[in-house]
């Protein structure tokens, strides 16, 4: 009989007792500025001094992943759109940048090395040509992913395809992109991707000094994205996004168009992933299908889930921590890392949906107000019960 009561509970969730509006935290702005300054000091001052060139290059790579994570935090944590295809946007940004750098390496009028190898091409394919110009290639790293996200997002969200359907579609997009890249080996480098990138706008990437500059560039970009994301989350739009996540139909009845709200968040997330991909290329010197396919796309999500999907800093810290743990563990015990990664995913998502960030909030709230629901419960949609607005008729 437990089933019957369980089922009734599922729909007739007792209305939450009215809560007094949370007092607006005073000094929030000063605290944010302080945290920001501390983060900047850590990234710009401490890390380059403490870490070796090798470790710094690794950190640069992690920070690129963290940039993708900020975007996923907005789209998934705040907007409820589980995008399992951020690798596509990361890849578009990365390939746009790498195409430009390959052309710059080859010199004017010459073909990139791999095309001569397996392409049997006499001249550059038409869609490569614009990337010779930095004025096209650099904006394209961000605008191209945003355009693709806009196209797919407006088609899909306007027709109210959402939830699991959207997640699967986004994953299929990643699969299709990888298959396309691998299949067109002559013009995309196939499985190898675009490798062996030497220069970055006239600077030699093998030089540790220049690598350091690239790191600083990435750190600055991450901080800028975080600042932007904070403004977005705090804005009226940010409120609306959370409202769409928690009750799309209700927002529609209030006169807003949820599709537009979702498209904006999806496009912003895609732009962030594109920028991350573009900066990843000079930091690592390669972009390949293996870095952007289904598996890496889901791995972007792990960091966000572990850190705390609905918070601003959680995704960043989670992404860096998971990427770091992977490097540290998979070097020595590759098998163990896979188990651990799987287990991490299961435990965090199933039992701590607010991520590690919620642990802290949980402890703090318990101490301050023992009766109040923990913070992640307020930030995430209610854990129990199918709400009538969320689950499509099935």
């Amino acid at each position: 009989m437990t089933t019957v009561t369980g089922a009734t509970n599922a729909t007739d969730e007792p209305a939450a007792p009215p809560q007094p509006p949370a007092p607006r935290r005073t000094g929030g702005r000063a605290r944010t500025a302080l945290g920001f300054a501390a983060g900047a000091a850590l990234l710009f001052g401490v890390a380059p001094l403490v870490l070796s060139d090798f470790r710094l290059a690794l950190l640069a790579k992690y920070l690129c992943v963290a940039m993708v994570a900020v975007g996923i935090g907005i789209a998934w944590g705040r907007g409820g759109m589980l995008t399992l295809g951020q690798g596509v946007f990361f890849g578009l940004g990365g390939y746009a940048m790498a195409m430009h750098l390959k052309l710059a390496d080859a010199g004017p009028g010459a073909l990139p090395d791999f095309m001569q190898l397996y392409g049997q091409l006499d001249e550059l394919p038409w869609w490569w040509r614009p990337f010779a110009s930095p004025w096209f290639a650099l904006p394209a790293t961000v605008l191209l992913p945003m355009a693709v996200a806009f196209g797919l997002g407006s088609l899909v969200f306007r027709r109210r395809v959402r939830g699991a359907y959207f997640a699967i579609l986004s994953q299929a997009l990643a699969a299709a992109m990888v298959i396309l890249l691998v299949g067109q080996q002559g013009t995309t480098g196939g499985t190898n991707g675009l490798t062996d990138i030497q220069g970055f706008f006239g600077y030699d990437l093998d030089d540790p000094v220049n690598q350091r500059t690239v790191y600083l560039l990435i750190a600055a970009a991450l901080l800028a994205l975080l600042a932007g994301a904070r403004q977005l989350i705090r804005s009226r739009y940010g409120e609306l996004l959370v409202a769409v996540r928690d009750g799309e139909e209700r927002v529609r009845f209030l006169g807003y168009d949820p599709a537009t709200v979702k498209v904006v968040a999806y496009v912003v997330a895609a732009g962030m992933a594109g920028l991350a991909g573009a900066l990843f290329v000079p930091a690592v010197g390669i972009i390949s299908p293996a870095l952007i396919g289904i598996v890496p796309s889901i791995e972007f999500v792990i960091g966000v889930a572990v850190g705390g999907r609905a918070t601003l800093l959680g995704p960043v810290l989670g992404a860096v921590a998971v990427a770091w743990a992977r490097t540290a563990l998979s070097e020595r015990f590759p098998g163990t890392w896979t188990y651990l990664q799987g287990l991490l995913f299961v435990l965090v998502v199933a039992f701590l949906p607010g991520g590690l960030a919620s642990l802290w909030a949980l402890a703090r709230n318990r101490r301050a107000e023992p009766d109040r629901p923990p913070r992640w419960r307020r930030v995430l949609p209610s854990g129990r019960g199918r709400t009538r607005t969320e689950v499509p008729a099935a």
Partner: protein
Amino acid sequence: MTVLFGQLFTGVSIGAVLLLVALGLALTFGQMNVINMAHGEFIMAGAYTTYVLQQTITSAGWSLLVALPVAFAVAGALGVLLEVLLIRRLYARPLDTLLVTWGVSLMLQQAARDVFGSPNVQTRAPALLTGNVSLPGGITVANNRLFILGLAVAAVVALTLALRLTPLGRRIRAVVQNRDLAAVSGIATARVDRTTFFVGSGLAGVAGVALTLLGPIGPTMGTNLIIDAFLVVVVGGIGQLKGSVIVAFALGVLQATGEYLTTLSVAKVIVFVAIVAFLQWRPQGLFTLRTRSLA
């Protein structure tokens, strides 16, 4: 004409594989709104079951026949285990089940690597299934493809009959149509869920047995199939089987035709674009189950 028919058959046989994989998903996704990414690993479990059975039963034909029910049971048991341990707790959060089961699938893949080794293994196909059949008009079709087509059709027929005629099937349909009403009518929905999950996962095991006829068995064999299979269910519409059946064959034929006219990679993109376009027309899938249920 011969070419056309040959392509059509290739498409149908791609569709049959997709259908076998998607059938279990249609059950679990359709009824419980659960996105089980570990379904691909249940396929793998079925395939490895065939491999293990061949170590003891030397006759390829018998081992295949024995493998079908055994793989069903093995994969089904794995599914029930997953349902009891994790999915049961996550029914209200379908997106989270996707992530959790993906974590499970990672662990299962690694387990397969540890037990059977990373390199792919191969099973022996029975002699009966290795040749070709010549049809009038100079058309040849491969026996193993024909067998898989037959298996897919048999699975659809068996499942449809089970859903239509048996008391269990009636309960499953009731829960799909209106979970709350089913619950107040005295159906133990939790038990029905578990049974559905057993059957759905078991079908993945059967698909795994079929796949051993087509290629090598490896730890990641399920990953590539699973997304296509999910697309089949999404486009077909959840809650009933006929959508998945039609869409599986349609996608198979589209894929084969695209592949014939262009290349494999372009064909995949064509299929994806076609799916997005289709969802513009029918966002809830080909067939939607209309109920008065509010949930």
